[in-house]
């Protein structure tokens, strides 16, 4: 069943100087119930912006331009602000912010923050009921229930991260958007957090998940499908197997080959980063956005609009003949 369908979503930042930075430019994808979608791309390609846009909370400087976000058949971009706040946020779709460490109010006990959230969405629940619910949920997720009584400064970084995950999912949202949930953690804590996210799916606390990262290997273990983003657009969409082991878009190819899959006992290392820098999203870009950095670039890549489309069962945004890419790449 299709849980989320995003169609031609376009959102932008309005800067103080009245410039428009189109950070999400016509992104489309579907998410089925029970699926984990990974979103990968270089820093600044618009991953976090896409995540924020999906929640449907457009607050300055982030603005909505066009497109739809359909959750369970309902386009949430068409809802008024108040309805969206009460019925969508945290309930239908929830978010784990990129810097989850700092996402908690330093002078508010964890339990009081949970009380405040529940008061907005389930005002009929008493404090005791909420407390009970939170305690059960924390136990369920292997989190010390004493955390509820703590202030954020009393928790370690990893603990804060897990607490934020537990708080975000306390209302069993249909979709969870996790923005780089492991980036700031050490390896062993990363594992704990990954396990926690997986168990959220297994326990059906959340129905589907969007997992954002710039570390592709991570996605292999958790994602069913992957979307690769470049300069505000999706450039390749496919199953994890396809995108990780046989990427087709030249950018995805570079992204994959710049990372070695680690052998046993050997640390993963980046071989090379892709030369050049992504384009400035302030300006309108003609042609393929990756063209200036692409090894296989041809004259026709440099003008016109290039759409993401199916080509021999695979979906990617490139004009080039696969054979050419493979030959030059090899």
């Amino acid at each position: 069943m299709k849980l989320l369908s995003v169609q031609e979503l376009k959102t932008y930042y309005k800067t103080r100087f009245k410039e428009k930075i189109v950070a999400v430019d016509g992104v489309s994808f579907d998410l089925e119930e029970g699926e984990v979608l990974g979103i990968a791309g270089e820093s600044g390609c618009g991953k976090s912006t896409l995540a924020l846009s999906l929640i449907g909370l457009f607050a300055m400087p982030l603005c909505y331009d066009s497109g739809s976000i359909i959750i369970n058949g309902q386009d949430i971009t068409q809802l008024d602000k108040e309805t969206r706040r009460v019925n969508v946020l945290g309930k239908k779709i929830a978010y784990i912010p990129q810097a989850a460490m700092n996402a908690l109010n330093p002078t508010c006990r964890i339990k009081n923050f949970i009380f405040d959230i529940m008061k907005e969405h389930h005002p009929q629940m008493s404090k005791e009921e909420v407390y009970h619910l939170a305690k059960e949920r924390f136990k369920d997720l292997n989190l010390d229930e004493r955390v509820l009584e703590a202030y954020p400064n009393e928790l370690s970084g990893g603990m804060k991260q897990r607490t934020v995950i537990a708080i975000s999912t306390i209302m069993n949202p249909d979709i969870l958007v996790a923005d780089e949930p492991t980036s700031a953690l050490d390896v062993s804590t990363q594992k704990v957090v990954m396990r926690m996210l997986k168990s959220l799916m297994k326990k059906k606390i959340v129905k589907s998940m969007i997992f954002i990262t710039h570390e592709l290997p991570l996605l292999y273990h958790i994602a069913d499908k992957i979307m690769v983003m470049y300069a505000g657009q999706g450039v390749e969409f496919g199953t994890s197997e396809e995108v990780i082991f046989k990427p087709l878009h030249p950018y995805a190819v570079e992204l994959m080959t710049s990372i070695v899959v680690p052998e046993v006992g050997q640390k993963a290392q980046k071989l090379s980063s892709i030369p050049g820098a992504p384009p400035n999203l302030k300006y309108k870009i003609d042609g393929c956005r990756f063209a200036p950095r692409c090894k296989y670039v041809e004259e026709r890549c440099k003008t016109g609009f290039i759409d993401i489309k199916y080509n021999e069962e695979r979906m990617y945004r490139c004009l080039l003949n696969r054979k050419v890419v493979d030959e030059v790449g090899a």
Partner: protein, 337 residues
């Protein structure tokens, strides 16, 4: 015994130590001013006298009376013994009034002037700062430069400007004193009206200064808090704006509490110049006159009161801060381990 309690016990001992040093300085500093106080008194009382012998014996009488003929360390012992008995000595300049009596008369006026002014200025300053940060736009464009302007002017300039504007150019308020000349302190309508009229200008000049400083501080803090990650996260979890504003302003207020308590600590000394400009009969004026007359015991008495209030307020600040801010509490308990 909890760590928290231990922390305060240790702090308390430190404050006590500071107090002892303060008492010593209060004693010694006035005595470093050039000039002998008895000369001033003699100049007053011997006007017209010509008999050198009687002048000399009077001089020696005064020296003995004020114990100025004793070595400094002995004077100090007398002073400390007095302090612990609640006796701050006898004023030289207003002989034979006791220092405690003079301070006791002046203190209520100072407190009545400063306390309401500080609290009012603090509240208004914080509200304005918060509005400027939250509403932005025209509010910020108006409030920010205004508070910046106010806080960058030396505070006594306000006193003088207000005095000039409202009591000399427009004779709306009296220019000096705490109540009408020749009135008795009593609970009557004319007296109260007169006291309020005399109170207004010095009150306003302190309020304005407070508004300036606090307004800027609060604006900065609020802008910082409004951009904090927890604000965004709370929004994303569907918490209503009014609630988030409460989070933000509670957090932004915390450092402002320091401002309030520190101002309250200087409640006595803070308005010194304002009092002098308006000849308001508070402690500031008393101290000013005492310094002019080399009235050692009175100077020491005034500075002692000032030191004690500042010490008490800093101690309270420590206690209150730990209670309202878990981060500070954590830091306080950590200091021990």
């Amino acid at each position: 015994m909890s760590n928290y309690f231990k922390y305060f016990l240790r702090k308390f001992v430190w404050y006590l130590f500071t107090l002892v040093i303060a008492i010593g300085l209060n004693f010694i500093l006035p005595r470093l001013i050039e000039g002998n106080p008895v000369d001033y008194i003699m100049a007053k009382v011997t006007k017209g006298m010509t008999d050198a012998n009687s002048i000399k014996s009077m001089y020696e009488n005064y020296m003995a009376e004020f114990k100025l003929n004793l070595p400094l360390w002995k004077q100090f012992m007398h002073y400390v013994a007095g302090v612990f008995q609640g006796d701050l000595g006898t004023s030289f300049g207003q002989y034979p009034r006791k220092v405690t009596e003079i301070i006791g008369h002046a203190l209520p006026w100072t407190i009545a002037l400063q306390l309401p002014a500080i609290v009012t200025g603090w509240v208004i300053g914080n509200v304005l700062g918060a509005i400027a940060a939250y509403k932005k736009g025209i509010y910020d464009k108006l409030i920010f430069p205004l508070t910046l302007f106010i806080s960058s002017i030396p505070f006594f300039v306000f006193s003088i400007l207000l005095l000039y504007g409202f009591s000399i150019v427009f004779e709306i308020f009296p220019s000096s004193g705490s109540y009408g000349y020749g009135m008795d302190i009593e609970f009557s309508l004319p007296f109260i009206v007169s006291a309020i009229k005399h109170h207004t200008l010095p009150f306003l000049s302190i309020v304005l200064v407070m508004i300036g400083g606090q307004g800027i501080g609060m604006r900065e803090m609020s802008i910082y808090e409004l951009n904090a990650d927890y604000v965004k996260y709370s929004k994303l979890m569907g918490i209503r704006d009014s609630k988030i504003i409460k989070y933000v302003f509670r957090n932004a207020m915390l450092p402002q509490i320091t401002g309030l308590i520190l101002s309250l600590g200087t409640v006595i000394a803070g308005g010194l110049i304002t009092e002098i400009v308006f000849s308001y009969q508070g402690l500031g004026t008393v101290m000013f006159n005492a310094i002019k007359g080399r009235d050692y015991p009175l100077i020491s008495g005034c500075t002692l009161i000032v030191s004690v209030t500042i010490l008490i307020s800093s101690f309270l600040l420590d206690v209150i801060y730990g209670l309202v801010d878990p981060r500070i509490k954590a830091a306080q308990t950590e200091e021990l381990s």
